[in-house]
């Protein structure tokens, strides 16, 4: 039986062509075959899956199931899953068993989705290559000698290799979009505040957003609709009505205005530029109108982001004291030794670097010059986007300046941070954005970033779905991983 997307899988479940158990077994077997090779999972969750399979089948049998009931998924390992390890890719949380479910996990459990495993990730979601995971780097299914992107690299590899149709992810400065692009799948980060941050281990609280990775925009729409919604447990949750993001998928995109940032396009390598221009041409063929827009302050986004995100990281990660939970050093000689050695042993190199940059930016004498200054740049960037969205419905842009790179290719932090050049501007502005696969360069996938105005997820998903109705890039599968 060949599956295409959630709709087809769900129809098969509801018409009893396949049981929830049989469906689960297909993916569990695929995980057994390939997960080790890709190193994309940290823990499998067979006991939880068994309970959820029984519950999901009961919902379907009593005709109470939804389109998501019985659909298997993998959660990025920064979402708390009750009574199950939640490591955040860190030695600090290697043995941490979450005491409750994250709200987004709760929301997906509520409709009977089946959790197969927890996905590998850069430690505390800090990284663009997954090389910062305590549990080792994730390999890209398209070329095992290359990175899967990060920080949701495990989630992206899971979907690209067909080990689950859906994976959750989180995106602070590009952590869903960049791995989705590098692994040739679709990924969406909603507007800041749409998805609850309750139970999502915090990295940079004013930027962190949960989202979805899947093969198609249509599948993203179904899952994102169920994942999002106001949550009183998250004080930054947006007080907006729940939306069905799939409702506009079929609309024509004729006369939709698509913004292009010429400066970004001109900065691309020839191969990626050609593929990106082809994709934009396709949007035009589908009836969209192209409009050039400018984001005059966006070139400072990486600099501002690497002040704000580390500052918030240093504050958030101060909670790890080695006492209440998390790694504790052996034989501390006093309380201060316990704090310092537990943290020094528990955190990896990149996490410590960001804690130190953030601590420095927030320290006496630097707060105004760096932290407040970066927040002012953030406002200028948000205003640039507001002006652009007065002229266009969405912006089409590159995701990453390059395709998946080799392991250890970027050893200095600044060259790694430049990976985020096209993804952090929309993160700073809190806008919904996604990546869709649009072609190949050197046999490696390339993504197109779609950026929407605040709360315009359904517009993004509409244009992405229309593109995918007319192209096949989202159903491309790497050699050896065909379903």
């Amino acid at each position: 039986m060949k599956f295409k997307g959630i709709k087809q899988i769900s129809q098969a479940l509801h018409s009893k062509d396949i049981s929830v158990q049989e469906l689960h077994d297909i993916y569990a077997n695929r995980q057994k075959q390939s997960a080790k090779q890709l190193n994309c999972l940290i823990n499998r969750t067979p006991q939880l899956a068994q309970q959820q399979i029984v519950a999901a089948q009961a919902l379907i049998d009593s005709h109470q199931g939804s389109i998501l009931t019985g659909i298997p998924l993998v959660h990025k390992d920064l979402f708390c899953t009750k009574d199950i390890n939640t490591t955040c890719g860190s030695r600090m949380l290697e043995n941490f068993v979450a005491p409750y479910d994250a709200t987004i996990v709760d929301n997906l459990n509520a409709v009977g989705m089946v959790t197969l495993a927890k996905a590998n990730m850069d430690e505390f979601a800090m990284g663009s290559s997954n090389e910062n995971s305590y549990f080792g780097a994730v390999k890209n299914p398209w070329d095992l000698s290359r990175v899967s992107g990060g920080s949701s690299g495990g989630s992206a590899a899971v979907v690209a290799a067909g080990l689950a149709p859906i994976a959750t992810g989180s995106d602070t400065g590009g952590s869903i979009r960049q791995p989705a692009a590098l692994c040739g799948i679709t990924g969406i980060k909603p507007s800041y505040g749409r998805a609850s941050r309750y139970g999502m281990v915090a990295f940079a609280s004013s930027l962190d957003q949960a989202g979805v990775l899947a093969r198609s925009a249509e599948d993203c729409a179904y899952v994102l609709s169920q994942m999002c919604g106001y949550d009183a447990k998250d004080s930054t949750s947006a007080q907006v009505d729940k939306e069905d993001f799939s409702q506009n998928l079929q609309q024509s995109i004729k006369r939709m205005k698509v913004g292009i940032i010429r400066e970004w396009m001109d900065g691309l390598s020839a191969g990626i530029k050609a593929v990106t221009e082809q994709a934009i041409q396709k949007l035009q063929d589908l009836g969209a109108e192209l409009v050039e827009v400018e984001l005059p302050t966006a070139h400072l986004a990486v600099s501002a982001y690497y002040v704000i995100a580390p500052a918030e990281c240093s504050s958030n990660l101060s909670r790890f004291d080695g006492i209440r939970y998390g790694h504790q050093c052996q034989n501390p000689k006093d309380l201060n030794d316990l704090y310092v050695r537990s943290r020094t042993e528990g955190f990896g190199e990149e996490v410590k670097r960001r804690i130190m940059v953030g601590t420095w930016a927030l320290s006496t004498g630097f707060y105004d010059a760096y932290y407040l200054k970066a927040q002012k740049i953030r406002r200028l960037i948000a205003e640039d986007f507001n002006q652009a969205f007065a002229q266009v419905d969405i912006i089409a842009a590159p995701v990453s300046p390059e395709v998946a790179f080799k392991f250890n290719a970027k050893k200095d932090p600044v060259s790694m941070y430049q990976e985020d050049i096209y993804t952090v501007p929309s993160s700073l502005a809190g806008l919904p954005c996604m990546s869709i696969p649009i072609g190949m360069v050197d046999n490696l996938p390339v993504g197109l970033q779609l950026i929407g105005h605040n709360l315009q997820e359904s517009v993004l998903l509409n244009i992405a779905h229309q593109y995918q109705q007319d192209t096949n890039w989202h159903s491309q599968v790497a050699e050896g991983y065909h379903e």
């Binding site: 005491p99 948000a382 932090p413």
Partner: protein, 95 residues
């Protein structure tokens, strides 16, 4: 250099991290390269621009002061490395 050895030591103290003598120069160099990149934010005049702390410019919401959660004390204490009855255990602070 914007960040030198002495500053790395000071930052480490503030962050409750320790830096070994063998690593200190490499860390100073890497932090220095990050700060050099960050310094580009000074290229733009931001006089009279209000800092943006939250992308939705949200203000902290208040809620009614009522109990919404049941006690999870035993479960939370069980996650600690060392606990005894109702207490977390740490090395002696006061002799």
């Amino acid at each position: 250099m914007l960040i030198n050895r002495k500053e790395v030591e000071q930052i480490a103290v503030l962050a409750n991290l320790s830096v070994s003598e063998a690593d200190i120069d490499a860390i100073a160099n890497s932090l220095d390269s990050v700060v050099e990149m960050i310094n580009h934010i000074n290229e733009v005049n931001t006089d009279n621009i209000k800092p943006m702390a939250n992308p939705m410019d949200a203000v902290q919401r208040l809620r009614a002061d009522v109990v919404t959660e049941t006690s999870n004390k035993d479960k939370l204490l069980s996650m600690a490395n060392h606990a005894d009855e109702d207490y977390y255990l740490v090395p002696t602070v006061v002799e």
